[in-house]
């Protein structure tokens, strides 16, 4: 049931753009984005211990334009720093879906790549990219701050060159990710975020956005109570 996914998703058909300056704007936007990254303060597992030195004066990720941020709504990067238990994974997915696009996931430590030393654990998700589109892995147990910094520089490079678009993959192949999540969490799994609605709104609807898993989701989904403005 679980398939391997490529790290860089294939691009969906984009409408041809007529603006002759579109490319220039894209370059500018990508540059600006790559130099102003906010990293959500959401760490899991033991790899988090390497982040304080990476953030503070010795390695100082702020010189690269990367700062911690307290809410997912304003954050660009989600760091998953260490083994991901099934319970934690639910929260990671909830948080990831609440982040505004474009957003990037970095898996730090071996555990996020293949379960690492928790390979035999019944309660640990083995491969993070089965559940979320991961932009970059930084392997190691744990990777030193130099490795974290170099991984972040790689992410900046990718963003600058427009190669870090995996967040679109989550919308375009939502059915696939949802299926893996349902496989792990059970059929009643749901998050408050309406991913399908967002995909439709942002024009990221792909052929695999809907499927048998989203049908299952719709059949079990309990909507949040409405809270609209009334006169």
């Amino acid at each position: 049931m679980i398939k391997d996914i490529p790290i860089i998703a294939e691009q969906a058909q984009q409408p041809r753009r007529t603006n002759p300056l579109a490319h220039v704007f894209d370059e500018l936007m990508n540059f600006a984005r790559s130099r102003s990254l906010f990293m959500l303060h959401y760490c899991t597992g033991c790899g988090a211990i390497e982040l304080p030195p990476a953030m503070t004066s010795r390695f100082d990720m702020e010189r690269l334009g990367i700062q911690p941020m307290v809410t997912p709504r304003q954050a660009d990067i989600l760091l998953v720093t260490g083994y991901v238990s099934i319970k934690t994974l639910k929260r990671i997915i909830l948080t990831y879906e609440q982040m505004g696009s474009p957003k990037h996931v970095i898996g730090i430590c071996s555990c996020t790549v293949n379960g690492g030393m928790y390979w035999q654990s019944y309660a640990t998700a083995k491969k993070l990219d089965e559940y979320l589109p991961v932009d970059l892995y930084i392997a190691g147990c744990m990777p030193r701050p130099e490795a974290v910094i170099s991984g972040l520089q790689k992410l900046i490079d990718n963003i600058k060159h427009g190669k870090s678009d995996n967040w679109k993959d989550y919308y375009q192949r939502y059915d696939h990710y949802l299926g893996n999540q349902q496989h792990l969490f059970g059929n009643n799994w749901q998050t408050p975020t309406d991913v399908i609605g967002e995909a439709r709104e942002y024009g990221l609807f792909g052929p695999q956005t809907l499927g048998q898993h989203t049908e299952l989701l719709e059949s079990v989904q309990k909507p949040l109570q409405p809270l609209e403005m009334k006169l």
Binding site: R73, L224, Q225, L227, M229, K230
Partner: protein, 623 residues
């Protein structure tokens, strides 16, 4: 028949209509029209604001050689405008569904209409007083009329109203004693005679009537330490009644203080008048009383958990700004103090209306049992938002202008400590109004309020009218300042040099047209950035980040209890309830005194008297 006669007769007619038709379903509507007619009658006298002139009533008596007269000048006109408008909007609010529900819940709607009409009439009579005796008669009328309005709801309001009337009677006795002292010097109650004699009195002799009158009128103003009655008495009055009282009732004390301090004694004399054996003057005493009246009630308001109590405590605190500005005595300060009367009336009534609308829909004003109502009652929210910006004294609302004038005056007069006191009061105001709007309208909607609707138009219309007034007079304070300038010319204060947008004079300049323009330009830039930024996606309130938790409606995430715990850890130990303690000490002291004097006329223990007499006689014989 002068316009003043028409006004008083119309007001009397309103009382009669309230008596006859107050219980009818259309009675409130008719009363609304008669209040509008009173407002029209007042507008006939609008010429008063331009020149220092008086309109005398043909109503007058002569009793024991004293002629009682009533007349209106610019000062009376300004206070009467606020009074009648407050009566008009309160009655409009009561006339519709609110009154129906009040009646259905067992309230006496007829009595409420009569009480508000009587209050307006008695205030108009007080404001027209042409000599000290009519001032006292009007004062008593106002005291008893507001007592009626406070007590009519029954329940907890009875105790509060009786507390009020106890204070008011004590104050009235002080006023009577002060008037008797003045009469003893002059044999006349007319203002010019009183002013003459007060000017010629020596410092020591002036203190007694000044102190007595200030204490007496200060009770109504709720000046420290005579303020304890006010919050509960106003808060427990039914919704529109509380709005009426909060808007104007205690300002009658300010009116009387203006008459005494500025028209009779003269502010120059008050500024010079030294406190015996010290280096401070009577003005300093008044200013510091006003400053403490700002600070203590405002920080008491911060601790209230009932929205109506919170607003009522602010009513006391804001009165301090009016007195503080007024006793500064310069053009800016007195204009700020006088303008604050109008501004406070507008936003305070809007706030009480908004809270009453919430009580109407939800049945509670407990700040711990509300929240998220903006999604259900957006117009009430809007009125409250405008009102609290005014109350906190922030642009672009009118409260900013009057507070700015007071601050500016305090700086120009070289009173940095009073300035700091005023700013500390404003800080407390901002904190507590944020608590008010957050706990009622922002945050998470309670499940039991899921299906409530906006208040009906008869209730939202008055508060929206007031919101517009609060904003427009904030944008163009010149509209109010022209009346203020008329008052200043009439009562003999330096006249403010105003313009439509504020003032443009050597003492400072403020152009609210520019301030508001720049503010809204800022909002506009933000709005352009926000709406032109492209696609926005509205998310559900429960689709929110809480450290990765899954939020659900059955758990409350709206923190309302123990607001500002960090601040309270710092200033909490300073709340010692000293004034309540002082009040109970005076109460028990008086109780002891009356108990001991009872013995004299009840003759409960004649043996004791015999013993004391025998001892005294023995002592006299032996010595």
């Amino acid at each position: 028949m002068t316009p003043l006669d028409y006004l008083l007769l119309l007001s009397l007619l309103t009382v009669v209509i309230a008596l006859v038709a107050g219980h009818r379903s259309m009675g409130g509507v008719w009363l609304t029209f008669t209040y509008a007619a009173q407002l029209g009658g007042l507008m006939l006298m609008a010429g008063l604001t331009n020149q220092p002139d008086v309109i005398t009533s043909s109503l007058s008596f002569t009793i024991l050689g004293q002629s009682l007269t009533w007349r209106y000048d610019a000062l009376s006109w300004y206070f009467a405008l606020i009074t009648i408008s407050a009566g008009l909007l309160s009655t409009m609010y009561t006339a519709g569904d609110w009154g129906e529900k009040f009646r259905a819940d067992g309230g006496n709607l007829w009595l409420l209409h009569v009480a508000i009409a009587l209050n307006v009439l008695s205030m108009l009579i007080l404001l027209g007083s042409g000599d000290l005796l009519t001032l006292f008669i009007g004062w008593e009328l106002v005291s008893w009329a507001s007592f009626l309005l406070m007590i009519l709801a029954g329940g907890p309001s009875i105790q509060a109203a009786i507390r009020y009337i106890t204070y008011a009677m004590g104050g009235a006795m002080a006023i009577l004693a002060g008037l008797a002292l003045i009469y003893g010097h002059t044999d006349s109650f007319t203002y010019p005679a009183a002013a003459n004699i007060l000017h010629s009195l020596s410092t020591a002799h002036l203190w007694a009537p000044l102190l007595l009158l200030t204490l007496g009128f200060g009770v109504k103003m709720a000046l420290l330490p005579l303020h304890l009655w006010q919050a509960a008495a106003y808060a427990h009055t039914p919704g529109p009644g509380a709005a009426f009282l909060g808007a104007i009732s205690s300002r009658m004390g300010l009116y009387a203080l203006i008459v005494v301090l500025i028209q009779l004694v003269g502010l120059v004399r008050v500024i010079e008048l030294p406190v015996l054996f010290s280096f401070i003057s009577a003005r300093d005493v008044l200013a510091w009383v006003a400053a403490f009246t700002i600070i203590f009630p405002t920080f008491t308001a911060l601790r209230q958990n009932d929205a109506r109590m919170l607003l009522a405590w602010h009513g006391i605190g804001q009165g301090g700004y009016m007195l503080l500005g007024l006793v500064m005595g310069d053009a800016l300060g007195s204009a700020g103090g006088l303008m604050h009367v109008f501004n406070h009336a507008t936003y305070q009534a809007a706030l009480f209306f908004s809270v009453a609308a919430v009580v109407y829909r939800t049945g509670t004003a407990d700040l711990n049992r509300l929240g998220g109502l903006v999604a259900r009652m957006p117009l009430s929210f809007l009125a409250m938002l405008v009102g609290i910006i005014g109350l906190a004294g922030l642009p672009p609302m009118n409260g900013f202008v009057s507070k700015w004038l007071v601050y500016r005056s305090l700086m120009l007069e070289g009173e940095p400590l009073l300035f700091v006191a005023a700013v500390v009061g404003t800080l407390g105001t901002i904190l507590s109004v944020y608590k008010l709007i957050h706990n009622m309208f922002l945050g998470q909607l309670r499940v039991e309020h899921e299906n409530i609707r906006e208040a009906p138009w008869s209730m939202t219309a008055p508060m929206l009218i007031l919101s517009v007034v609060v904003f427009v007079t904030g944008l163009m304070p010149g509209l109010v300042l022209q009346w203020i300038a008329g008052i200043q010319a009439t009562v003999g204060l330096p006249v403010i040099d105003y313009s439509l947008g504020g003032l443009d004079s050597a003492q400072g300049s403020l152009d609210m047209l520019w301030v508001v323009g720049v503010l809204f330009a800022g909002f506009g830039i933000g709005a352009v950035l926000f709406y032109s930024g492209g696609r926005t996606h509205r998310v559900h309130q429960l689709d929110n980040y809480a450290g990765g938790h899954f939020l659900s409606a059955d758990i409350r995430y709206h923190y309302s209890d123990n607001f500002y715990p960090g601040l309270m850890r710092l200033i909490g130990p300073l709340y010692r309830y000293s004034f309540a303690w002082l009040e109970s000490a005076v109460q028990s002291g008086l109780g002891l005194l009356s108990l001991s004097t009872q013995g004299f006329y009840r003759r409960v223990a004649p043996a004791n008297y015999a013993l004391v007499t025998a001892v005294l006689v023995l002592l006299w014989v032996m010595l």
